[in-house]
């Protein structure tokens, strides 16, 4: 459990650092690095970063948008279409970030297994 916590913190820290100069897929690199150095077991290799990066994206999205009364979020939730639900839009945002976090993590872990 402690390992998962450290992994999550490292992933989030790296994601925050990388995203200032990489495209959106910086999160893939962040979790790949985390999983290369910190060994997670079983399904947590995918699901731990799914949760941590998913949360990161969701919180970031919420905090940007809430300070503007969700004006654009409400419109994009019509466009996508999510029936105008900002909650669903934030959830989808988190899910997309999370899935790529998980994929990065899987790749990092399998690389580590390969070279060790």
């Amino acid at each position: 459990m402690k390992r998962i916590l450290i992994h999550s913190l490292l992933s989030i820290g790296l994601a925050l650092l990388l995203q200032s100069f990489t495209p959106w897929w910086g999160v893939v690199i962040a979790t790949a690095i985390s999983s290369y150095f910190i060994r997670l077991k079983g399904s947590s290799v995918f699901f731990s970063p799914l949760l941590s990066i998913g949360l990161l994206w969701a919180i970031q999205a919420y905090s940007i948008s809430s300070s503007n009364d969700f004006i654009l979020a409400e419109k994009i939730a019509v466009l996508l279409p999510l029936n105008g639900s900002v909650g669903a839009l934030i959830a989808v945002t988190g899910l997309i970030g999370g899935i790529f976090g998980g994929l990065g993590s899987l790749s990092g872990r399998s690389l580590k297994v390969l070279v060790s």
Binding site: Q19, I64, I71, T93, I96, G97, L111, L114
Partner: protein, 802 residues
């Protein structure tokens, strides 16, 4: 096994990153679009101007104040800095729109929205939109002062673009997956071309020719007369033209009014309702003793709005009003001496010539007794997600051959376009001149070089002058020249000269004490030059002029009321006749509609149920009257409402009233009864949906985003009255796109509003912040600062430093 695991997970990751990094069909690149760091979330913010900015392109410091509607008030120390800052700030709030409109003008929409725009793009190129813009920019760049200003504006836009990182791009770029490109002065010319096309791009020559071939001369004249009895022209009828002396008129060849070609498919036309109102009274007719001026241009209702309000101040002038993102200066506005406005002065300035080629190689065409060379232009239309499309457009000395065997028309013949929009011009200068004009003489100097789209330039000044020049470059035509497709082999069919500028109709301080225009006929039939256009407006002008004849003095409140006037003159002129024609048809199920209609006062107010019923009955009737024309295989134009009503009243047994689909022979009364029956069915069906029959609800006015009214970025069901042909010309998707009233008191006072907001960002609170005020018929005070000192109305200030 380890290797396989690695390859599998790495490949899956790479593939999904790739898949989420590009758009699929109408879906944006999801990874990029949804990311809080790069995607649309970054656009979820409203403007909060910075306090200082370093801009290397400036020569001196510039102050930009903002008021509570995000209207910038720019104070520069020289003209170059002024236009640089105009470009920079406009791009900051409207970049995507500026670019999109110039892409649309140039026929480049396929580049950003893909294959569905190819036919549109071909049409734009075959109309010679870029050809016209190039002719204009070449002319404008010859003028060193204008050239300097155009480049200053362009540099401002480009410095703003260069300051952006991709996550800061407007959300539409992210949605469609492209990036802004460099701005050039040519794009300002393209934007003006976009307006020229919107306002002077309509003609009905091909349809007229088809009509003539199907129904003959007599019927054509009956349904499409050049002048009408009820007209109340822009220039008052009292004007006697004898001071022109005997004017030179060209000779036309025999048989110019013959139908020489039939066509099935024509280019999409600009909305016939593109028009406007303006009016002004002098001090003697104003309650305050100050001249008053008002203007409201009617255009498609779009977001981001076509107008952007600014105050532009430099040492030699201080002007405020509505600008067009992409063009320099203020287009409709006022300064500390004068106010001006425009309405479209429509005239047939686009003609068609049938071209005869020497042989199939299409290299030379006949002109008189010689052969002339064709100039071939191969247009390359880039298409998003597909390979480019090539289209050969052949240019004659008239202009481009728009219709040929590959494009619309009749799939066979070659028709070349002659259009005022293609001629070299410096129209941009007219507006920069008006921005600085201090009196009548400077106003006339500014408008006198203006070519197209011809406008009714209304004017009022603190010298208590009111005036209106109908200004544009207008061909001096022989009778009916260009009303029908002409034979391009005969040089006599050419535009041989232009009406001398000083003979353009104008009026200064008329006896009646007011000047006005609403897209009606410019003059009565005594004006010594040939005047023709198929779309002169016939209702708004009479309501406006009758109002100004109704009393002695007018106030700002009267001007507001007139902007918002919902009186439906068309209904007043036909409904009483309708009611008696349909009375015998009324039964239990239609009784309620009939009685609501009978007690309706002809005002299209928001809650008027009578207005909804009238509009449904009228639409049904109009469709039934012209069934023969609507069902024809040839391209035809339907006669307008005015002429339809005239025919109903004075030729009720004309064969057009006979409905082709029935065995009986109907007259106007019988048709009105059928229309009423059909309308009742429609109204009953509508009522079953549970929606209100109040006029505003039934009409459902909307302001649609420029991207095909993308619902998420549009506003629907806006509660506002009016309709086309009403002074408050708000229909479902079209209406007053800017309303301005100026009082020329010692300190100029003005108010304005438009159905949008200053920001082009759908995520900004300023995106549509003025719509409710506009719908309610209210205005914002336009904060006209005399100098760079901020007042309490200023909410923030940005200091721009070189």
């Amino acid at each position: 096994m380890k290797l396989i695991k690695f390859i599998f997970s790495a490949a899956l990751t790479l593939f999904l990153v790739y898949a989420a990094n590009r758009g699929w069909g109408t879906l944006p690149a999801l990874g990029n679009f949804m990311s809080p760091q790069t995607g649309f979330w970054q656009n979820d913010q409203s403007e909060s101007p910075e306090t200082t900015m370093q801009l290397d392109g400036l020569r001196s410091e510039v102050t930009v104040h903002y008021d509570s509607e995000l209207i910038p008030h720019i104070f520069a120390q020289n003209d170059e800095d002024l236009y640089y800052t105009q470009g920079y700030i406009t791009a900051m709030h409207r970049l995507w729109q500026m670019e999109f409109q110039t892409y649309a003008a140039a026929g480049r929409l396929s580049e950003i929205i893909g294959e569905k725009a190819i036919e549109y793009d071909r049409g734009q190129r075959r109309k010679g939109m870029v050809f016209g813009a190039q002719n204009a920019i070449n002319e404008m760049l010859k003028d060193p002062l204008l050239s300097e200003r155009l480049y200053a504006y362009s540099n401002g836009v480009n410095d703003y673009i260069a300051s952006l990182t991709p996550e800061q791009y407007p959300v539409e770029y992210k949605l469609l997956g492209y990036a802004p490109e460099t701005w050039q002065p040519e794009k300002s010319a393209l934007l003006l071309m976009y307006m020229t096309d919107m306002l002077a791009g309509r003609d009905e020559d091909l349809e007229n020719t088809n009509f003539l071939s199907l129904f003959g001369r007599e019927t054509f004249d009956l349904l499409f007369p050049d002048f009408i009895a009820d007209q109340d022209p822009v220039i008052p009828r009292e004007r006697d033209w004898s001071d022109f002396g005997k004017v030179e008129r060209p000779e036309g060849p025999e048989g110019v009014s013959k139908a020489i070609v039939q066509t099935h498919e024509v280019l999409e036309k600009p909305d016939p309702d593109n028009g406007s109102n303006n009016w002004a009274v002098n001090g003697e007719h104003s309650e305050s003793g100050n001249p008053l001026l008002a203007n409201d241009p009617h255009l498609g209702l779009n977001l981001p709005s076509i107008w952007y309000v600014m105050q532009l101040s430099a040492p030699d002038h201080n002007v405020m009003g509505a600008t067009l993102p992409g063009a320099l200066g203020v287009i409709i506005g006022f300064n500390d001496r004068i106010a001006w406005g425009v309405t479209n002065a429509t005239r047939d300035v686009k003609d068609w010539y049938r071209i005869e080629f020497e042989d199939e190689s299409k290299k030379r065409y006949r002109y008189g007794d010689q052969w002339r060379d064709i100039r071939e232009v191969v247009e390359t239309i880039k298409v998003k997600g597909a390979s480019p499309v090539l289209d050969t457009v052949r240019y004659t000395h008239y202009g481009p051959i728009t219709y040929d065997e590959t494009f619309k028309g009749n799939g066979r013949e070659n028709l070349a376009m002659k259009w005022i929009g293609h001629l070299p011009n410096s129209n941009q200068n007219t507006f920069l001149g008006l921005n600085r004009a201090k009196n009548y003489e400077e106003y006339v100097a500014a408008v006198s070089t203006y070519t197209a789209p011809a406008q009714n330039f209304i004017f009022a000044s603190k010298d208590n002058d009111i005036a209106l020049w109908i200004q544009g470059k207008i061909a001096n035509k022989f009778n009916e020249q260009g009303k029908f497709v002409m034979d391009g082999t005969n040089p006599q069919n050419e535009w041989q000269s232009f009406i001398p500028q000083e003979h353009n109709p104008h009026v200064r301080n008329p006896e009646r004490g007011f000047v006005s225009s609403a897209n009606q006929h410019p003059t009565d039939e005594n004006y010594p030059y040939y005047v023709y256009d198929p779309t002169y407006e016939t209702y708004r002008n009479r309501v406006i002029n009758d109002y100004f004849r109704s009393k002695e003095k007018f106030s700002v409140k009267d001007f507001k009321d007139l902007h918002n006037n919902n009186y439906n003159l068309k209904a007043a002129e036909i409904l009483p006749a309708f009611l008696s024609m349909i009375e015998s048809e009324v039964n239990n199920s239609s009784e309620a509609y009939y009685s609501t209609l009978s007690s309706w006062d002809y005002y299209n107010h928001t809650d008027a149920i009578g207005a909804s019923i009238f509009e449904v009955v009228w639409d049904e009737y109009y469709k039934m009257v012209w069934d023969e024309l609507r069902e024809s295989e040839l391209a035809l134009q339907l006669p307008d409402s005015y002429q339809t009503i005239w025919l109903t009243k004075y030729h009720a047994d004309h064969s057009f009233f006979d409905l082709k689909s029935t065995s009986e022979t109907e007259d106007a009364s019988a048709l009105a009864r059928l229309a009423f029956k059909e309308a009742v069915k429609k109204l009953d069906a509508y009522k079953k949906t549970g929606k209100s029959l109040d006029w505003a609800a039934y009409k459902g006015t909307q302001v649609g985003h420029l991207l095909q009214a993308l619902p998420a970025f549009s506003r629907f069901d806006i509660p506002i009255g009016g309709n086309k042909s009403i002074v408050n010309a708000t229909s479902k998707t079209h209406g007053p796109s800017w309303r301005m009233i100026v009082e020329l008191s010692s300190e100029t006072k003005a108010m304005g509003v438009y159905p949008g907001g200053q920001s082009g960002n759908p995520g900004s609170r300023y995106y549509d912040s003025m719509i409710d005020t506009w719908a309610a018929g209210d205005y914002y005070e336009l904060i006209y600062l005399p100098n760079a000192q901020p007042t309490s109305a200023i909410t923030s200030t940005t200091q721009l430093k070189p």
